[in-house]
Symmetry: C2
Subunit: 327 residues, 2 copies
C-alpha cells in the first residue's frame, strides 16, 4: 500500500493528513493557522512543515515508512489553472499567479497536484464518504463562504474554464441581501456561516428573545453560526427559527441544483452539518416542496461523513485522478 | 444519404419535418394544431398523417424516395421513460403512461425514438445550430413554459432519473411571483411568454403609458409576449422596459447556470428570441454583472439559429444517438 499526503488550504486553517492510497485510513492529521497576511512564502513554509510533520507522525504512530509516501494532493481556494498548477487569484489569501503545485512539490521533494478546495471536499465524500457509489453528485461546502463541487460518473465536472460549481453565488432572491461578491441575493449571503450569524444578530438587535446574547457575554459580534446551532440544540426557539430559515434558503438553492442536475446525491459539508436533523429535516422538506418530483424522489440529501478531513482525503483522490488517471 | 422524420409535439402545435441524416437539410415541414382535448388517439392519428405528408412532400419536391426515410425521432413534453419510450405524465396534453414511441412506430411503419422536447430543441442547436462545436451547452426553450436542455461532450445530460434541465423551475426569487407549479419565484413565473404578457398587463392596469392597448383594440387579455416585442421594436418605452425587465430575470437564471455549469454556450430558443438585441444586450450585461468572471469570459449567450425547426431537427439527432449510437 502506498500513501499520499492531502493538503487542504483554507482562509483560516491549513489541514494536512497522510492517506492510504485506497482511502481506507488517514494518519498524522495536523493543522495550523493559515495566516495569509504573512505572505505566500510564509504560508508555503508552513505547508511544507505540516507535510513533513504528518509524514513523520505517520511513520512513528502507524509504522509506515516515509518511502511509501509518494505524492501530495493540494486543495486550494481558486480560481486555479489546474494544468499549470497555478493559483490565479484568491482574494482571501491575497495570492495571484502563484505556482503553488510546483512550489510545494519542490519544498517537500514529492510530485504534487492542485485542485479547487471545494472540488476536493466533495470528491472526498464521493470517494470514501457520504456520496460513495453515487453517479451524479452535487455538493456544497458551507463555511465562511459557500463552495460547490460536481462529480459525474466518478469524475469531477470542471466545465469549460475549470470553474464549474460556484453554487454559493447562485441567486435565490434577485432583489435580496447584498453579497460580498457585489451581487444581491446569492445563496452565500443567506446561508454561509457569517450570514447565519448576521441574520441572528439582526433579529436580536430588533428585540428577539433568545439566550444567544448570554452565550457570548452580551458581545453580539461574537455570535457565530456554531453559537446558533448550540442554542438550537438547547431548544432556544429563536435559534431554531434561524436554523429553519437557513434550511429554507438552502432548500431553494438545493432545489435549483436538483431541478437542473437531477443528482442521486446532494452532500453538504462544513460546520453547518453540526445542526443535524434540526437543519436537514426542514431542508429536505423545502427541497421536496420546490423541486420536480421525479428528481426529488431519486435524490438523497445528506451531511458529509468526513468532518474535518473531506478536503484532505479528496485532495488525495484528485492527485490519483490527475497523476495516475484513476481513483 | 438517408433521411429521418423529426416530430416536435407541443401543447399548441405539432411540427414535423424530414431531415437529412447529416442535418444539412429539412424538407416537407408540416404542422397542425395539437388539440390534446380530443384525446391521445386523435393526436396520434394527426402525428401519423403529418409524418406521411412530410415524407410524401419530400419525395415530390426534393425527389427523395420514401425508401430512404428510415426512422422517426419524437420530441414530447415529459417526464418520460426513454428506455421504454413512454410518456409518463404531461399535464398540458393530459397523457399518462402513454407508449408514444411504439404507437407512432406502428402507425407509420418505421423505427422510432422518444426524448424530451426541450432536450431535442437544444440538441438540434448543438447539432447544426447556434451551439454547434460546443462542448458544454446549456439551453433554454422559452414559450408557454420554460424548458431546458444540457449537452456535454456531444451527449444530452440526463441525470439520474432522466429529468435534468428543468431550468424553468429554478428559483430566482424565493419569495416572489407564484408559479403554475405551485412554488414562488420560479424563472418561468417571470420570463415565459405568458409571464411577460402578464407583467405588461399588470403595469397597464396600474396606469402605464404605452401603445400596447391600442395594438389589441383595448382588449388587454389579447396582449402576448409577441405584442410586447413588436411594441418594443417600435420604440414603445414601456414595452422596452418590460423587455429589459425580462432580460434581468433571465439574466439571474442564466447567471446561475453559468456559475454552476461553466458552459461555453448558453443558447436560448423560442419566440423570445424575436426581441433580438433589445433582449440579448441587457441579458448579457446582467449575466456579466451576476456571474463569476472566469466563467462569463468563456461563455457565449446566443439566440437559437433554427427558429421553428430546432425541435424537429433535434428529435432526429436524438434518434441517431439512441438508435445508431452516434450523431
Amino acid at each position: 500500500m502506498r500513501y499520499l499526503v492531502g493538503v487542504d488550504i483554507g482562509g483560516t486553517n491549513i489541514v494536512v493528513g497522510t492517506v492510504a492510497e485506497d482511502g481506507s485510513a488517514v494518519h498524522g492529521v495536523r493543522s495550523a493557522p493559515t495566516l495569509p497576511e504573512e505572505g505566500p512564502e510564509a504560508v508555503l513554509g508552513r505547508i511544507a512543515r505540516l507535510v513533513q510533520a504528518s509524514i513523520a507522525e505517520t511513520e512513528k504512530t502507524a509504522g509506515i515508512a516515509r518511502e511509501r509516501v509518494v505524492g501530495v494532493g493540494i486543495g486550494s481556494p481558486g480560481p486555479l489553472d489546474r494544468d499549470r498548477g497555478v493559483v490565479l487569484l484568491t482574494p482571501n489569501l491575497g495570492w495571484r499567479e502563484l505556482p503553488l503545485r510546483d512550489l510545494v512539490s519542490e519544498a517537500v521533494g514529492l510530485p504534487a497536484s492542485l485542485d479547487n478546495d471545494a472540488n476536493c471536499a466533495i470528491y472526498g465524500e464521493w470517494w470514501v464518504g457520504a456520496a460513495r457509489g453515487s453517479q451524479y453528485v452535487v455538493g456544497l461546502t458551507i463555511g465562511t463562504g459557500i463552495g460547490g463541487g460536481i462529480v459525474i460518473g466518478g469524475k469531477i465536472y470542471y466545465g469549460t474554464s475549470g470553474v464549474a460549481g460556484e453554487i454559493g453565488h447562485t441567486t435565490i432572491d434577485s432583489t435580496g441581501r447584498r453579497c460580498k461578491c457585489g451581487n444581491y441575493g446569492c445563496l452565500e449571503a443567506y446561508a454561509s456561516g457569517p450570514a447565519i450569524a448576521a441574520r441572528a444578530i439582526e433579529g436580536i438587535e430588533t428585540g428577539a428573545e433568545t439566550r444567544l446574547p448570554g452565550m457570548v457575554s452580551g458581545e453580539l459580534s461574537k455570535i457565530t453560526a456554531q453559537t446558533v446551532y448550540e442554542a438550537a440544540k438547547a431548544n432556544d426557539e429563536y435559534a431554531l427559527e434561524i436554523v429553519r430559515d437557513t434550511a429554507k434558503f438552502l432548500g431553494a438553492g438545493v432545489a435549483n441544483l436538483v431541478n437542473i442536475f437531477n443528482p442521486d446525491t446532494v452532500v453538504i459539508v462544513g460546520g453547518v452539518t453540526t445542526a443535524g436533523d434540526q437543519l436537514f429535516v426542514p431542508l429536505r422538506g423545502e427541497v421536496k416542496r420546490r423541486a420536480f418530483k421525479p428528481a426529488v424522489d431519486r435524490c438523497s440529501i445528506v451531511p458529509g461523513e468526513l468532518p474535518g478531513t473531506a478536503g484532505v482525503v479528496g485532495a488525495v483522490a484528485t492527485f490519483k485522478n490527475q497523476v495516475w488517471g484513476e481513483v
